[in-house]
Symmetry: C2
């Protein structure tokens, strides 16, 4: 008999009524009396498990009845439709084979565990309801992003991880080396001789695929990257990880409003896709992780996102009478408290803030005609703050070169990036979505460590 | 007027007949007489460009006619249907705006360039026919992989890049550090003190996401990874890169034949999807990169893949009478020449070789009852050799522990991997697909450097 996934029992119940079925899975709960027992079996294909009824007609009844939770089984039995009951069906076992026994010291016993504790058993935590839901939603959201862009003909660019350049010019990068750390080659000045390293130069882990994406946008028009990025920032907060995934679309012949439109469509598409494909998980989050989550997402997927300039936003914050922890002044960056106030209290929905002071934004952003601001935008969403950061890129070669010089950056490092402006440059724009922030936004989870399969943070690279 | 992508002009020609259209793009070719001229404009949305006819009715006729190739334009004009002509339509320009001029020293002039030269301008090469086709096929194939697995309910696991473990136990890893290479902290023995490093330990770039995938398969049943992996191997061949993408499915309650079935379905699905979604590109490869490519792929997508044991394969090779460069002997690994002989000459189609000697395979592969071989399989394909390597994993805790000890590996490093066997382990199996090999197989390109946007090889991390 062919095995059936538990997901199919739920999604296509009508096909199984009064049929024999064979399933496999792990014991979530088990209870027994002398002559019969119940097992909740979960096979990972679906958020919910299925109830197995078994009795001492089975020759191995006593062995099965004693099994510790998380033991794995193969079960054959009759599918019993119980539309009146709380569970719409159960399986009356005619045969149960033990696949692999668990152990009485299995760490995930019925009691509630803290998220902190579960991080120490990251290899087992996807077996809990919460993390099973988180990582399934993460998978579905990743696919939704690919689907959204592919169906519009965007080309997926797998930009390099190891890089000699520093996109943001911000430092805080991880060095990548094959040099023997106990026996480093030295140059004439007594410094480490990077020319002897694997790539013949100093290399680091990328902080962004944007520069690569720009090169490809000027060949394919519309592209996106989606891959891991890195920050060697020594901050132990609930929002920072050393390794995280970024998705960065880049569009040629596009200006700031074009990427704002694209961002809004993309966010709504992903919300809709996840609600449609993981309704059980989303209801779970709404009940047990963040009350009101579904209302918040319903609001986001139906509202027209707000749009406001940075200059207007500063006025709104000043007029608010709120007692913020950080100062509000034209020229200063918005802090999370300001961002959340704007989207949660003023607009009560996602809002794009545009045209930030050039001093607080990256070198590649396009200078506006006022010479004071750049064509940048951040999308702020309730519960999170900044979800997306984007900009129109400076396509004018002379303006970009002047900026690179002004910031004391090394022009030669950007030779190819400047050439993109020299050989048929176009207006172009793009944005970056921190994928983990999106998952936190979709699930209500509040610590980035709890939306990454095996998180990397200062002092932690276990597993 | 809203801009139209050139792709839409080809795919939905009937909607544009006798309409006004506006498009943007880059000049691929331009020629003019005194009073009229022709431009082939490509906007990156489609493999082919569109012919623009323009004349001196345009006030900027002389400026446009002089433009160097790769200049970018916005064009408004009339869509002229020419079903009898070689090109099914053209656009009679009523207005042409220069978006960004190129330069006369643009490196991609009409003459043919070597792939070697084009690698030195990797930021521009996607503008050539060959690389435009390669990277669009790469994008489409990546999406096909996601689609194949998502539609079967597999969960996408983004496994960590920075890791403390070495899956293959093979060494040759890149070290990741934030220590000051000119001022390294030392421990009491005078060695570099890794406990002072960012993660409090020595960390490296991952060579495989498999161990992570196994942990998730034992929670979700069916999962896959798809992300960058790294080898610090100092080999300058057409098949090796330091950074490449791997796709690694892992299935619980599965044995070797299950993953062979899954591999065969997946490869066929990707071939079909690419042929359907990039027919122009695939015809181009068939004409200009590898004659016979389409026949080779047609054979693969329709044949039942062969299946043969390693032991049988060794016999076949010995009986062949071929003069191989490397020896053929039971116990020795198959070389590419052997692999290609088997699939190209003996089977004339893709073939799975199974049950390799345990000594030449990784520690985690399941020991067969003969105690000499392991439940491993490689998929060999014509033109490439090994495309996929997979195995059933050793689920028996005591057998796995003994193997780890036998190989002198550090059991403590694998504490969590061993726990997967302790708490409800199941038979499980998985495989790894080198994504660049797949792209070479699909396109006929013969150097891995030419299927990666910005390749990293010994001595090369430019861009």
């Amino acid at each position: 008999m062919k095995q059936t996934l538990i997901k199919n029992l739920y999604r296509h119940t009508e096909n199984f009524i009064d049929q024999k079925v064979q399933i496999s899975g792990w014991i979530r709960t088990i209870r027994d009396s002398k002559t019969f027992g119940f097992i909740e079996l979960n096979d990972g294909s679906f958020f919910k498990g299925v109830q197995i009824v078994f009795d001492d007609q089975l020759e191995n009844y006593k062995e099965i009845a004693k099994l510790p939770i998380s033991s794995s089984l193969k079960v054959e039995g009759d599918f019993i439709h119980t539309p009146e009951a709380k569970q719409p069906f159960e399986i009356k076992a005619t045969k149960i084979d033990l696949e692999g026994s668990s152990n009485v010291d299995y760490p995930l016993q019925k009691k509630r565990h803290t998220f902190e504790y579960l991080r120490t058993i990251a290899h087992l935590r996807p077996r809990t309801n919460t993390f099973n839901a988180v990582f399934r939603v993460r998978s579905i959201a990743a696919y939704a992003i690919h689907k959204f862009f592919q169906e519009q003909g965007f080309v997926y660019v797998q930009s390099p991880i190891i890089t000699g350049s520093d996109t943001e010019g911000a430092g805080e990068m991880f060095r990548v080396t094959t040099l023997d750390m106990d026996n480093l080659p030295k140059n004439e000045e007594g410094k480490t001789d990077s020319s002897k390293d694997f790539f013949g130069r100093e290399t680091n882990l990328t902080v962004s695929g944007q520069l690569s994406a720009e090169a490809f946008a000027l060949a394919f028009r519309n592209v996106y990257t989606f891959g891991p990025t890195f920050r060697a920032e020594n901050s132990n907060t609930a929002r920072h990880a050393a390794e995280f995934w970024m998705m960065e679309p880049e569009m040629a012949f596009a200006e700031l409003p074009d990427i704002m439109d694209n961002t809004e469509e993309m966010v709504k598409f992903v919300i809709n896709y996840v609600l449609e494909h993981a309704p059980e998980e989303m209801n779970f989050f709404n009940s047990f992780v963040e009350k009101g989550l579904l209302d918040r997402l319903e609001n986001a997927r139906t509202a027209d996102f707000g749009r406001v300039t940075y200059t207007e936003a500063i006025e709104l914050l000043k007029e608010s009478g709120e007692d913020f922890g950080y100062p509000v002044e034209w020229g200063l960056d918005l802090q999370t408290e300001h961002e959340r106030y704007l989207c949660e209290k003023v607009f009560k929905k996602p809002v794009f803030v545009t045209d930030y002071p050039k001093e607080i934004k990256a070198f590649y952003m396009r200078l506006n005609d006022d010479q004071k601001t750049v064509a940048a935008t951040d999308l702020l969403v309730p519960g999170i703050g900044e979800l997306v950061g984007g900009s129109q890129r400076e396509e004018r070669e002379e303006v970009l070169t002047a900026k690179i010089k002004e910031l004391g950056m090394n022009e030669e490092d950007y030779w190819w990036y400047l050439e993109l402006r020299k050989y048929g440059g176009t207006k172009h724009a793009g944005y970056g979505l921190g994928f983990e922030r999106l998952i936190m936004y979709l699930t209500g989870m509040t610590n980035i460590r709890d939306v990454i399969p095996f998180p990397r943070t200062p002092g932690n690279a276990e597993f």
